[in-house]
Symmetry: C2
Subunit: 159 residues, 2 copies
């Protein structure tokens, strides 16, 4: 299969949003996606670049993406977070996930960061196996915590 | 007890580093802290501000801190991550953790973000109970994944 990995452009954001929604559906959170493709254009390609995105393309169809941004570890200093690594369902098992992750790791190594972090659902064994084969450590004793928009409102009301 | 919460300055970074190390020891990872106070000054107060920090102070002693930075959710847009919320051991149970978290939530609400995220060790029941009382959700099915510095090196060597 012929494909290329390249940096995303603003014009790719509608396709990237489709992949974001595909992953959210797989994660049983389809309705959680509030971001629009205009938001992605603004946030990734506007005055304040909040993320960096790679896309995988066959002919002229975008079939995968990886979206990363800077974080800060008080143990390691600047690190990079991989927010989403998505390969369209029809293309899974074709090596695209590895090709995208290769680009991410090369980019992060060039930035000199001491860690790449991400998050995974504990029932997503194919993803966990893939990441562990790549040398990543799944920290099963660390849980993610969220205070969501309603939680923030409630918090302030209770002050 | 008299205390004040204020924005951290570069001069606070040695004290903030002590609190970072205190938390890392509690998390059984004391040797994982590679950051120096010079790094914190550079990364928080240099040309590229990678984090925002609040400190809790009694008289002139810093006894707590909260360190946050921007992240990006492909579901919610700009969000803020709470990397560390630390109260010095001698001062725990004094309301300082709540006072620091209040400042963080007010700051995040002013920024208009739709989520505050953080991470917690699944055996740290006092922290989990504290966060849940504040309305946060501990997502026990989401695990944190790390590719560390050695993992990045190995990854590139295997390409």
């Amino acid at each position: 299969m012929e494909y290329s990995i390249r940096e995303a452009t603003a014009e790719d954001m509608p396709s990237v949003l489709e992949l974001i929604k595909e992953l959210a559906s797989f994660e049983k959170e389809a309705s959680a996606v509030e971001v629009t493709s205009n938001d992605l254009v603004h946030d990734g390609f506007g005055p304040e670049k909040r993320f960096h995105c790679f896309v995988a393309e066959t002919n002229t169809t975008i079939v995968g993406m990886a979206l990363i941004y800077d974080r800060y570890s008080t143990w390691k200093g600047p690190i990079i977070h991989l927010e989403d690594l998505v390969v369209s369902e029809a293309m899974r098992g074709s090596g695209l996930g590895t090709a995208l992750l290769n680009e991410v790791v090369k980019y992060c190594a060039n930035q000199g960061v001491k860690r790449i972090s991400w998050e995974v659902l504990d029932w997503n064994e194919p993803a966990i196996n893939f990441y562990e084969r790549k040398g990543a450590k799944v920290l099963r004793d660390w849980d993610v915590v969220h205070l969501d928009a309603q939680g923030i409102k409630n918090y302030l009301n209770n002050l």
